[in-house]
Each structure stands twice: as structure tokens, then as C-alpha cells.
């Protein structure tokens, strides 16, 4: 019998445009580990498995994640792993470790200093290296192509997109770690210049430096440590073709398939969606089949703070937080990776188990 696994702790750094720290994230991670472990009531020495997500392309140096291990204090030797990608996928790896009983606790972390380079250009290197990356298509321009497909098809309007931005920033007023927040007027947003027609500034997630950590525990260990663990009832990820042209960019079949494999959206009260562009939130809601009663991104989402390679993990942490505080019984977190929602992960969490 495999173990049930729960999220029992979560912490994130403030989302900021620039940090003084290094690209290896050590300075951001030390306090984040401290707070996540304190919430879980777990001493650092008891962590059975450490797993991180980050990117050398963002850091501008090879093996940048190795220096981040300093923040752990890796002596006596620890059980550790890293993925080049969003730490939501590091959480997936840790979940497997706990399911199979190889460890009974894990700390998953992600970090990124996007301000060190030119993010939209760095992300061009995620595309096909033979026929696409040599053109240096930046991430904002690509997202704009996707946004127009939906606009032309009547799936969303520029006003719908601005409303997503306004709602996100209003929600972020209760999130002290958000980078952008406040009451904004949709008319005013629609009056601003395009940065990449049909996208305006408010349609794009800000460039953010930040880090986050999630603590996992299995079975009775989770019950011992915290009063209300957020049990992972399902988690799955699916990837689509690396060729942009063959995909239907107006929906996300990989998100739909992930949600099905993770147990479906029935009864989900809150969803934290990893949508770095306003139209992608609208697209994901449709792909997931989330009705109007589902509360979307009460944290403000990545449109109000987008720490690269941590932002997907933050969605899981924020969703778990709704279970910790008793405000929801069944929640969904989504994470994405690759150009135009190429690779998607869905994690469903529940209170009682």
C-alpha cells in the first residue's frame, strides 16, 4: 500500500522586482526554509528528502543550484535532487519519493532571480532549437500570438483580459508578499499602450525575483506534525508537442488531461492557476471546466508576482493554505512550464482524509 502525502508547510519570499542577492538564491532561501519548517513543526535535521527547481539560463551560470544547497546545510550528507524547471515538478518528484516510502518528509523549494537577465529573451531559449529559437521569439510576443487567436475566435475579449488583471490586483491587496496590488479601473487599463499588440502591460506577469518552499509529509507523520494537513488527493502532469504550429493554442489539452488524471475538478472550491498572461487564466478556466462558483487565485496569482521556477510551487502552497486555514475543503493548484502552456501540472488537495 502506498502512502498518502500531504502539504504541511509553505513559505515564500516577498515578490520583488530586484533583490540584492545572488542568482543562486541562498539569501532568499535561508529565511524561507526557516518559516516553512516552523509552520510544519519539523526540525531541519528531520527532512528526509530535499528537491529543488531552478534554471541555469536564468542564473547565467552552470550548476547554479549547487550553491543553493549551502542554504540547506548539507552535513551530514543529505538526500537531495534538482530539476531544471518549475519547482512544482520538484514537488512531483518528492511526492513519488514519499508515496513509495523512500522518505516520510520532504522539503521542496524553487527560486529565481529573473532581474539578472532579460527574462523574455532568456525564455526564447525554451523553444525548438532548430527552427524557432534562432529567431529569438521572446515570451511576451509569443503569448501575444496566442492571445490574438482567442480574440479572433471570440473566446475572450481585451476587456475580459483587463478584468482578470483588475481582479488579480484587488485580490493581492490582502497578500503582503505580492509585487503588484491595488484597485485599478478596467477602463483605465484598456486606455494604456500595447507592449505587444494585443497585450498591454497589465496582461503580462511582472518580472519578479523570489523563492518558495513547501514541506511534505506522508501518512501518520503528517498527522503528528500538524492539525490540518492538506492531503494530495491527485497530482498529474502532461506535456504537448514542442512544435507550436501543431498545437491548438486556444485551449490546453494537457491541462484537461492532467486534471482528469488528478481526480477531476468536482467539488473544488478554490483554484490557484499559474497563468503568466491574463488570457491564459481565461483559457485555463475553460480547459479545466471551472464554474463561476470556483474562487480563482485569491492570492492574486502570478499576475501580481511571478518568481520564475518558484511560481508553480507557490500555487500549490497557496492552495494548501486555504486548507490549512479551514476556508476550503477541496482545492486545485495548476503549474505550467515551457512556451504557451506547453507542459501542465494539476494538483488537487483536500482537508479531511
Amino acid at each position: 500500500m502506498v502512502n498518502d502525502v500531504a502539504v504541511i508547510g509553505f513559505a515564500q519570499s516577498p515578490s520583488v522586482p530586484v533583490t540584492d542577492g545572488t542568482t543562486n538564491g541562498v539569501e532568499m532561501l535561508v529565511p524561507v526554509f526557516e518559516r516553512a519548517l516552523a509552520q510544519a513543526g519539523l526540525p531541519k535535521s528531520d527532512v528526509g528528502f530535499w528537491c529543488s527547481g531552478s534554471s541555469d539560463y536564468l542564473a547565467g551560470r552552470a550548476f547554479s543550484f549547487v550553491a543553493a544547497v549551502d542554504a540547506i546545510g548539507a552535513f551530514p550528507p543529505i538526500h537531495e535532487s534538482h530539476i531544471e524547471g518549475d519547482a512544482a515538478w520538484a514537488l512531483y518528484e518528492a511526492w513519488l519519493k514519499l508515496r513509495t516510502g523512500e522518505a516520510d518528509t520532504a522539503l521542496v523549494y524553487g527560486f529565481g532571480k529573473s532581474s539578472a537577465g532579460e527574462l523574455r529573451r532568456v525564455l526564447a531559449l525554451q523553444t525548438d532549437p532548430y527552427t524557432v529559437a534562432p529567431l529569438w521569439p521572446d515570451a511576451v510576443s509569443l503569448a501575444a500570438l496566442q492571445a490574438r487567436l482567442g480574440l479572433d475566435a471570440g473566446l475572450w475579449s481585451e476587456r475580459d483580459m483587463a478584468e482578470v488583471a483588475a481582479r488579480s490586483r484587488a485580490d493581492a491587496t490582502t497578500n503582503p508578499l505580492a509585487q503588484l496590488s491595488g484597485k485599478v479601473d478596467v477602463e483605465e487599463l484598456l486606455g494604456t499602450e500595447y507592449v505587444a499588440d494585443p497585450l498591454r502591460v497589465h496582461d503580462c506577469a511582472p518580472v519578479t525575483d523570489g523563492a518558495a518552499a513547501v514541506v511534505l509529509a506522508a501518512g501518520d507523520r503528517a498527522r503528528e506534525l500538524v492539525g490540518r494537513p492538506a492531503w494530495i488527493s491527485g497530482i498529474a502532469h502532461r506535456v504537448e508537442s514542442g512544435s507550436l504550429g501543431v498545437r491548438d493554442l486556444t485551449t490546453s489539452v494537457s491541462t484537461t488531461a492532467s486534471a482528469e488524471a488528478a481526480g477531476g475538478v468536482d467539488g473544488v472550491e478554490v483554484a490557484e492557476l499559474h497563468a503568466p498572461f491574463t488570457h491564459q487564466e481565461l483559457l485555463l478556466r475553460q480547459a479545466l471546466g471551472l464554474g463561476s462558483s470556483v474562487r480563482i487565485n485569491p492570492s492574486g496569482g502570478v499576475l501580481t508576482g511571478n518568481p520564475m521556477f518558484a511560481a508553480g510551487l507557490v500555487r500549490i502552497g497557496e492552495a494548501a493554505g486555504r486548507v490549512f486555514d479551514g476556508s476550503a475543503g477541496r482545492v486545485l493548484a495548476h503549474a505550467t512550464s515551457g512556451p504557451l502552456l506547453q507542459h501542465n501540472l494539476v494538483c488537487v488537495l483536500e482537508g479531511a482524509r
Binding site: 542554504a71 537577465g117 523574455r120 529573451r121 532548430y130 500570438l145 487567436l149 505587444a196
Partner: protein, 319 residues
């Protein structure tokens, strides 16, 4: 909490560049060779749809695809976005449109740039390839697309088989040293060697680090260290390499400064390479003061002091 946060961290620009050379395999070789001949190729998928650029394997069934067909050079804009400020490396340096373009005879669209005024751009518009005057075999042989009605004459093609592409990649960063490293770098600019002590285990790190790798806590107390120490381990460099400053053979060694718990790498000169040994006592030879900057290169090299060798026990825990 720390004594080091009162100064701004040091930073410097960092440019990383590499020419990625990739072999193309059968499908992309045909695609690239055709581009050089001013033809665009697609490949027919398992479901009959024609894809361009041609994937080697069907995106749905993963079957090997070999039924190549000519597509374009004209096509239709499926979607577009406007790039008001082109970035380094993009196909055009003046404002242009990105577009997914469905070439005549293809079913799936391909990405490229369209050189047209902002007002001319619309979904469904007809465009055609503008060939690069200097084909190299690759997607950049298509300089861009242009509105069909304004298309000019094409340069003469250069037929030659293409099996490799080279893609220059260059990224620019602002690289920041940690607050602790910045203290070290400011110290060495004045000829001082500043380490830091971990508040938990008491180990002294030079250069200091953002967190003690044993305890995961920031190092705090500053410790001034002398510019002499012990060779813990070393290697004799016999291999020439690009950018090498010295003529082999020479010695690169780990030097453990007196009072430090971590060694750093430096050169041991002023003695024959075969005389360098573990435990050898060495001292820093500094460059002229006017050449000093925020770098460990202020120390040109280390040389033997002539003191008796340190006993193994002294450095055994620092190997």
C-alpha cells in the same frame, strides 16, 4: 543580524555567448537544404495534415514521417503580434510583426517575422517569403515574410547540402556578488583577506559565503586572515588550453590560509613544479598596488616560504 548588510553588494555585467552547433538528422537536413535552394518543405503526418517545419515524428502517433512536400512560398497569417522594440537577435531591427503563417499547401502554421507597417497587419492577410541574400542553411534563410502585394525579386539560390546549423546564443546579465562576497572583494581591493566565521560550527570561510554549507545559516563574524598558508593538494598542469596565461608545466594548488577552514585555488610559482608537495608552506606574491581591483588576481601567485612543511594532521580535515 549580520555585520555585512550595511554595504551595497558589488555587481558587474556578464555576457555569455556560445555558438551552438547542431547536427540536423534526416528531416531537418532536407528542410534546411531546401531553404538554401529557396524552397520550403513540409511533411505529411499520419492523419494527412502537412506540417512545416517538418517534424521527424508524427506529433500524434510518433510515426516516422518521410512524405515531404513543397509548400509556400506564399501563405496566410493565422495570428500576429506587434514587436515595437525588437530585441537582440530577432529577424528585423525595425518594428515588425510576429506571425504564425500557414503556407500554401501546409495545414499547420509556422512562426516567423513579417516586415510590414503596423496598419497593414491583420489576421488572414497574404504574405510571402523574403529570402535572405546570404543563405546559410537554416530558418534564417527566410529573412522574414512580407505582404504578398509588395514582394520584391528574390536573390539567386545557393544549392549545397546542409547537415549542420550553428546558432549563436548570447545572453546578458547583471551578476551580483553576495553581501559576504562583496565584503571580501572590497577587502582584497585594499590588500586585506577577509573571511567570515559560521556562528554555529565556528568554521572560517574565505571567500565568505551566504550560508555555512554545513549549517545553512549566514556567516557573520568577520575574520582577517594572513596571506600565508599551506598547500593541501595540487595538480601539475601539463595540458595547453585556450586562454591559458602560463606555459605548462605549472602548479595549481589548494592553499589553506592560516586560520581558515576552507582552501582556495591558486598558482604556486617560483619553484620547480616537481618540488611542490602537500603540506608545503607558501606566501602570497601580490601584484603592484596600482593594479589592484576587486579580485583574487591581486595575488599574482603563491611561492614557498622555506618554512618546514606543515604536519599532515594540520590540514587533514581540509582536503
Amino acid at each position: 543580524m549580520t555585520q555585512v548588510s550595511d554595504t551595497e553588494p558589488l555587481g558587474a555585467p556578464l555576457r555569455i555567448a556560445f555558438d551552438y552547433t547542431r547536427s540536423l538528422g534526416p528531416s531537418l537536413s532536407r528542410f534546411a537544404t531546401a531553404l538554401r535552394e529557396h524552397r520550403v518543405l513540409g511533411v505529411r503526418g499520419s492523419d494527412g495534415r502537412v506540417h512545416t517545419p517538418p517534424p521527424e515524428y508524427d506529433p500524434v502517433t510518433a510515426a516516422l514521417l518521410t512524405d515531404f512536400v513543397d509548400v509556400g512560398p506564399g501563405g496566410e497569417v493565422v495570428t500576429w503580434s506587434w514587436q515595437p522594440k525588437p530585441l537582440d537577435g530577432q529577424p528585423l531591427t525595425r518594428p515588425f510583426a510576429w506571425a504564425l503563417i500557414r503556407l500554401d499547401g501546409a495545414d499547420t502554421p509556422m512562426l516567423h517575422a513579417v516586415d510590414a507597417p503596423r496598419e497593414a497587419m491583420r489576421t488572414g492577410m497574404r504574405v510571402r517569403v523574403r529570402w535572405s541574400p546570404e543563405p546559410t542553411g537554416g530558418i534564417r534563410d527566410i529573412a522574414c515574410f512580407e505582404p504578398e502585394e509588395s514582394a520584391g525579386a528574390s536573390p539567386t539560390p545557393d544549392p549545397a547540402e546542409v547537415t549542420m546549423i550553428t546558432t549563436p546564443i548570447e545572453l546578458a546579465y547583471w551578476h551580483t556578488a553576495s553581501p559576504e562576497e562583496s565584503r571580501f572583494l572590497r577587502g582584497i581591493t585594499e590588500g586585506r583577506l577577509l573571511g567570515q566565521r559560521c556562528p554555529v560550527c565556528g568554521k572560517v570561510y574565505i571567500p565568505p559565503r551566504g550560508a555555512c554549507p554545513v549549517d545553512g545559516v549566514p556567516t557573520t563574524d568577520e575574520v582577517a586572515l594572513p596571506d600565508r598558508g599551506t598547500v593541501t593538494t595540487f595538480c601539475v598542469v601539463n595540458v595547453p588550453y585556450l586562454g591559458q596565461r602560463l606555459t605548462p608545466p605549472y602548479v595549481a594548488a589548494y592553499v589553506l590560509l592560516d586560520g581558515a577552514d576552507i582552501a582556495f585555488q591558486h598558482l604556486i610559482l617560483e619553484c620547480p613544479a616537481d618540488e611542490v608537495r602537500m603540506g608545503m608552506r607558501v606566501e602570497a606574491v601580490w601584484r603592484p598596488r596600482e593594479e589592484w581591483g576587486p579580485t583574487l588576481e591581486n595575488i599574482d601567485h603563491f611561492r614557498p616560504t622555506g618554512e618546514p612543511d606543515a604536519p599532515y594532521d594540520v590540514y587533514a580535515q581540509h582536503l
